[in-house]
Symmetry: D3
Subunit: 236 residues, 6 copies
Amino acid sequence: MRIMVINPNTSTSMTEHLRQELEKIKRADTELTVTCPTVGPVTIESAYDEAMAVPPTLELVRLANREGYDGVILACFSDPGIHAAKEISDIPVVGIQEASLHVAAMLGYKFSILTPLARRIPHKHEEVRRYRLEDSLASVRALGMTVAETDADPRRTKQRILEVAARAAEEDGAEVMILGCAGMAGYAAEVERELGVVVLDPSAVALKLCEALIDAGLRHSKRALFARPPEKEFKK
Amino acid sequence: MRIMVINPNTSTSMTEHLRQELEKIKRADTELTVTCPTVGPVTIESAYDEAMAVPPTLELVRLANREGYDGVILACFSDPGIHAAKEISDIPVVGIQEASLHVAAMLGYKFSILTPLARRIPHKHEEVRRYRLEDSLASVRALGMTVAETDADPRRTKQRILEVAARAAEEDGAEVMILGCAGMAGYAAEVERELGVVVLDPSAVALKLCEALIDAGLRHSKRALFARPPEKEFKK
Amino acid sequence: MRIMVINPNTSTSMTEHLRQELEKIKRADTELTVTCPTVGPVTIESAYDEAMAVPPTLELVRLANREGYDGVILACFSDPGIHAAKEISDIPVVGIQEASLHVAAMLGYKFSILTPLARRIPHKHEEVRRYRLEDSLASVRALGMTVAETDADPRRTKQRILEVAARAAEEDGAEVMILGCAGMAGYAAEVERELGVVVLDPSAVALKLCEALIDAGLRHSKRALFARPPEKEFKK
Amino acid sequence: MRIMVINPNTSTSMTEHLRQELEKIKRADTELTVTCPTVGPVTIESAYDEAMAVPPTLELVRLANREGYDGVILACFSDPGIHAAKEISDIPVVGIQEASLHVAAMLGYKFSILTPLARRIPHKHEEVRRYRLEDSLASVRALGMTVAETDADPRRTKQRILEVAARAAEEDGAEVMILGCAGMAGYAAEVERELGVVVLDPSAVALKLCEALIDAGLRHSKRALFARPPEKEFKK
Amino acid sequence: MRIMVINPNTSTSMTEHLRQELEKIKRADTELTVTCPTVGPVTIESAYDEAMAVPPTLELVRLANREGYDGVILACFSDPGIHAAKEISDIPVVGIQEASLHVAAMLGYKFSILTPLARRIPHKHEEVRRYRLEDSLASVRALGMTVAETDADPRRTKQRILEVAARAAEEDGAEVMILGCAGMAGYAAEVERELGVVVLDPSAVALKLCEALIDAGLRHSKRALFARPPEKEFKK
Amino acid sequence: MRIMVINPNTSTSMTEHLRQELEKIKRADTELTVTCPTVGPVTIESAYDEAMAVPPTLELVRLANREGYDGVILACFSDPGIHAAKEISDIPVVGIQEASLHVAAMLGYKFSILTPLARRIPHKHEEVRRYRLEDSLASVRALGMTVAETDADPRRTKQRILEVAARAAEEDGAEVMILGCAGMAGYAAEVERELGVVVLDPSAVALKLCEALIDAGLRHSKRALFARPPEKEFKK
């Protein structure tokens, strides 16, 4: 099966990193194309960034459909443009947030999301509500570090993840942690070992779920919410 | 006070019609600019259309801020790009959907939304949930007519609105009706008279609410959900 | 437009204070009558006080209807008797709690209510549920001061408001604060400045919303929940 | 044990009827006083009626406390003034609505409430929400008859109850029916037999629950929501 | 009336203790049989223990029906097998958890459940959701002691109950405490006195509710959720 | 990977049928053991049947753990004993109901469950609530046929599935259908084609999800809800 993994931001180094990680865990019979748009923001940290990233991302979704891919993965934790992508797509579209929230809800009573900065906490709550999973959410907690800081200081990042995840487990009752940012990848095993919780890497979960859907011959319903958009004039 | 009303689609005739309607009901001390983007879809009927309409709409929001307007109204019932607009805006931003849902929730126990086609019903439910007002929603009901058909056949449109609103009132217990599409404007008074329910025209409600917020010196909080996006590189 | 503002308690000094505040912010074309009943409790701090204040308050609502007012504001934060007032009223009735909860829900993801004493916290939760806005509520927090103490010690009141609002913002994620008691009025600007949150003075919000509703020709639906009570015998 | 049953309206015939029904089913060791206020509405069919009935009802609640009763029952299905009654009461206060909703929620997955007129349906939904039991509610359905009509035409009343309860069972999935109006009393056994559902007479349920609470030495918490109101001046 | 009280675990000492407690508070006209299965776990501390305890418990429920008892009480706080018990039973079945949650919801705005160990907290949340009462739940808090430890160290048990209940009242807003474990029985009066909250002993509450239901001639609906299981082959 | 699929009832013909269906769709590198207990009910149609089926099912779960399987699937739509199975299991346990509800929630806005008989509808609602997915549920609808009748009359079964699914789509807004009974398997493709909805066969979905979890190295959290039960005495 052929899957196109789209990193909606324009950072080629993040895209390459993602490619390396997913190549390690893909099924033997899966062929991956990991790509990103050439125009748009280099990172996505606001609704504004998302809004600007979506149109070029949708171009790649169209491409995946045209070139006969079997599935598409949107590899940014806020699943930018996922509804529009499903509308214009005849093949399954998996958002890494949607996939990891649902899997988390199956693996324990409540899950927590770890996010870099406190000001994005309400946004994460909104996202969980969008997927109608708020009753499975224990909490959203912030590291209090920017993405740049998590890149620059892995030692402190690891320490903060452990501290924050421990509080999510002890105070909020979380049994599953979702590492809601690329900069947190790589610490999952250690958190699992120290806290006895399940830790999800959203991209990995999304890949496995996408492979499962393709294998089962499933995709999203085209009846209503994700029906194909009517043809119309676009002024340019 | 100066308010910019942005029609997010690129139809100049709809924009002009909107201008005429709002000019009639604005406060004497309100100065309106009613405008629309020059690029993008001529109507908005899907998440895809929304995604393409948002970037040029945000350009106009920036313009309103730069030119010293006191407030911005997004005049499309799905409030496209409202979060991003609030992020980049220091002046109040009012979506006609957000405004009419909240006012509807104050004027009766439950409200219904009338929408052109059945396949958009799940989307409307999602929108109401986005504003955390699902416990005030009686139902979303469709006319079973395209926007084009509502334009072409006012007689049948009126008849369908009356039929559908009557069912919303009698079967779903709605006390307030929201006419969720520009093509339904103009029938409010007759529905009110025949059914004894309150009927809201979202653009009019949004204008009055926007004037009230400006007058009260209020705008959205900039602390978290709508905080200004961090500066960053955009590839072009 | 002529608006009757009813303070449901019998304190003439509070009524006069309210009159002065609202006169400052009313629209030029608004004429205010600010009044209170002559019988009933001098402050409202319990369901019992409310129950006793409602019948004389409803007499004033009747008066406003009879004398051709365009709208009524109930100026006590628990909106005493608001359902009965809407039933007997053909003009819009705005409760300061209802108005400020809905406006707060539009201006940020979640709001907090500040209240004088901890024992009234469950009551406030009940009220927010009554308006079906519990999913927009961050928290209700108490100053730990009686109304009398807030009057007597403005310095400590201000300090406590700042402390409590800061905890609501940081720990509960509130982006909007509602000052749920007359004794807290006057500190809004300072809290806004220090904490970067929006702070609502319920009476001011209600006045602006009432003016907007009147201007838009709107009032509550008379179809069901607020239908006119059937005529009947009252034993005296 | 001595229980005061208060019919909050001023109809002495309804009060006498209630007395006769409850005398039949009370425990041998229960002594009942069934009474009603001397001033106020003769029936309660609106929030306005409730508002006017509450102050004299609370006088009777005070009397019950002063004269050493062991418990109080508020015998009107909308539980008028129940919060204030609990505040001023040191003995258990049982509302017939509160008692029957909770018992109904234990006896089947969902319950329906039968009410005389459709326009009171939203009010009943509000009441169920007030008790935080909306997830156990199948529906509220109306007979489409006034209270006077149910009194005047028992044959049609019985027929309508059977029709409406059958639809509640078949279409809404109700397993328990609550007869939400005195005029419907007396048809319970027949509905049970014909439809195989449980049918609750709220007054009877409330009496049994009140006896059980007294027997168990329980009453409502006085810590917060129902704390004793502070002493204060009432202008007369 | 004759009531069979079933302790679903196989501890005869706990069964005897329960018998003594309930004998003290039963109505004069109530005849109690307090019993337990002869096979199965000696304590119930997991879903696995529950699963193993249910079949022999159901045998006792059958026995109660066959021998003409008027009601059955399941006396383990997780109400093991309650749905199956209601299915095979023509007499009322009362779970001590179900009874105490509903009564707690009537006696204050929110209740808290005290449980021995933190790892059972999610299970308790699930149980409260099962009864659709999560909106009346303040919190579940753990003593941090095993059942064995509560038995061995009454002094520390009492101290922990007081500490934990105080935090539930002050931090979570609980007005009613449910002692969710047999090892906590006996401290209710002291907690009530010190904290001014209502404290429920689930077994006592269930007995009083069961007597009330029998007295009122009520039992669960047999229409759907608790309908009699179809006859069928069981391989042995 | 080696997966044990447990049919919790004792019907060897159903077990064999399940084996054949799953063998067709398993991954090439998956080795299946499809089995059932030797004692217990031959079909599961009530909470009582479930209660009796769980202990022998748990024996098989233990066996799967002891013999080094990589995962377990519980192949009965009510997921009998799933919590206990996760407690005693160190390998992932997938219930066919849990898996299909979560996947359905990803593939459309709302899903419907088709079930044989109306009296099981409340049970299905309870199950969806147990997984905290009620906000993604459109409806549960019954065929009005027993399992035996669906076996005996495939023609009428197909017709009823089409009729009921059409109503779920048109009246309840369902975009995804879950065939909640083995007797309905085999009609999925035709329903998809005729109604344009997605139709899920729960066993197939569960197998693909189980393979994905094993492949990703995931299993349920052992921290709290599914922690290993404490060792203890079981009387025999």
